[in-house]
Symmetry: C2
Subunit: 354 residues, 2 copies
């Protein structure tokens, strides 16, 4: 109490309490600590220290005659300085590393698919819900290729391939006066003009140029332009995907059906999720948001850990793990880092271009 900095014994006790609480899910008393983590102290001493820790705001009591549980401040300290990352705990799941690797070798799939797989693995590993926000957000992406494909009379498919091999397409109806041959010319011109450019570079002038160089009346070109715009919109839209929502119900803090429902409903609101996750990701790397640090009300007794992934400078997306405040932070962080390795290894092979 003399100092508001924690001495190392208090730290040790706090760590023990949080470790135990994460494992047992029950408020932890002084006796438990004295017995289980023998640090040569009696329960009475621990009790005194606990009282101090509570006064300093690291612990709270659900009610007078119960044990202590960590406060948000306690968790924060734990995450920042106390917990030890257990790398060994994850090893047995190396079958799953096989999973992700083999999937990537099998064929070059869209990155977002790989991310999806990664998020599933994270969710399985941690037993919490994973939230995947893939795609570049509003960031700038180059167009690798753009094509218009005749489907049948009066219909064409517009498709663009982006930097990260994401494919976007949009089916439009076109004037039946446009022959496949004309379409081909349009396709070639568009490709020439747009390929290598950023999505946001495309403007009406460029479209005008296509009209001129192909000789196709501008009116007839219009639906095609609309298709291109639709593709761009799709590409700009970040994709949101959640994995393992039902896993949340396994944790006792969601026994209250009302809470569970609030959170599950939130998981359907993709825009909110995307904002939340991307905001975190801006800091880059790993971010932990504990309890009320989350801006979303319904998550006030949840924590979210997010990790952003990018390989070779290309941003793949962000995976967030959502669980109760009493989550196993160590396990979650290990899982997220673990998947990072998997993703990078899998993608490192790609440039070989065998």
């Amino acid at each position: 109490m003399a100092n508001n900095e924690l001495d190392s014994r208090k730290m040790l006790i706090l760590k023990a309490i949080i470790d135990d609480y994460i494992e047992s899910k029950e408020p932890v008393g002084s006796r438990t600590i004295a017995k289980k983590y023998d640090m040569g102290l009696s329960s009475a001493t621990i009790r005194n220290e606990m009282a101090d820790l509570e006064e300093m705001g690291y612990l709270t009591q659900p009610h007078t005659s119960a044990g202590r549980i960590p406060s948000e401040k306690g968790y924060r300290l734990y995450v920042d300085r106390l917990m030890n990352l257990k790398e060994q705990g994850i090893e047995p799941t190396s079958e799953e590393l096989g999973d992700i690797k083999s999937h990537m070798q099998h064929k070059i799939s869209e990155l977002s698919e790989q991310m999806r797989m990664a998020s599933e693995i994270v969710s399985r590993l941690t037993d919490y819900t994973a939230i995947l926000v893939s795609g570049s957000g509003r960031r700038s992406m180059k167009i690798k290729a753009l094509q218009t494909v005749p489907v049948e009379t009066g219909k064409a498919l517009i498709l663009i391939v982006l930097d990260d091999d994401t494919v976007k397409n949009s089916l439009v109806s076109i004037d039946s006066a446009i022959t496949p041959e004309m379409l081909m010319r349009i396709s070639v011109q568009c490709n020439l003009l747009f390929a290598g450019h950023r999505v946001e570079d495309i403007n009406l002038d460029m479209i005008e140029m296509v009209a001129e160089s192909t000789g196709v009346p501008r009116m007839l070109l219009y639906p095609i332009v609309e298709g291109i715009v639709a593709c761009i919109r799709k590409a700009e839209n970040t994709e949101v995907h959640t994995e393992g929502a039902s896993r949340l119900l396994a944790h006792p803090e969601f026994n209250d059906i009302g809470k569970a429902r609030n959170v599950l409903e939130l998981l359907n609101k993709e825009d909110l999720l995307a904002d939340m996750i991307q905001e975190c990701s801006s800091a880059g790397g790993l971010v932990v948001r504990i309890g009320s640090e989350n801006k979303i009300q319904d998550l006030n007794d949840c924590s979210v850990v997010t990790a952003s992934y990018s390989v070779n400078g290309v941003e793949l997306g962000t995976i967030g793990v959502l669980g109760p405040t009493r989550m196993d932070y160590s396990k979650v962080i290990s899982a997220l880092e673990y998947v990072r390795k998997g993703l990078e290894e899998g993608l490192g092979k790609k440039p070989k271009a065998e």
Copy 2:
């Protein structure tokens, strides 16, 4: 008891009981029926009839001193012969008809997207969970167009457009010896050969023909073939999508967190869902499965109503509604039929090709 066929009065009473139970969610007693649905009978008489109905297996009692609730047999009769479809109850949501219509006019999107929207509307309308199984299942689909598109050196995009305007694509790595020009020839040949054919008609002979007519070494052609196969696999895979899972939690029968969890977990098992929904759809039109009529154990106190949709002979998919056995069958069926109109209208316009 003399006859094991129900006289019309028993029917009326049974209907009243089930109607009331669906609305109130509580076991219903004889007094309630006598008062609320005045059919000129005293509670005592109703009581006698109820005893008969119970003996015949249409009703059960949760415990001696409670009211009656319908048995599965009761629900079955109700669905088959007693309930009246309330079409008026749905009308106020005609804003949502606007929704679906405008979305369809805005641009020709993949059918599966439209179905997705439809399933969302059904879920919102009914407050239960909607399960969408789109795509043709194992059924035979014609290929409308097939294209290979160069993306960059060493990479090509294979894409096929199917009967129902579903677009499938697959990115493959190809030998860098294949020039865009060669790829173009391959593309034209493949399109010529495969367009108009069913997915399962494609065989190795046809691929051999492509190799011959384009002069591309068969070894180099191999990755492309793999891409095509991948596309086909994707097309064969029925897509499963669930909408509004969290809505289930609003209903009292899912207050038991264990039950809720079982069902929510089931909703992640796409293969099981697809099997279940498609099996129903085989009968065509509307199918109601009550309680243990569902083969899946976890759904033994749920009901599933499925409707299959096809327009112009093209099968779009099936939407299933999952809710507690005590679901508002009438509302669910109305909603499914209602969306049918929306889908058909929206698609009826398409052939106009404006």
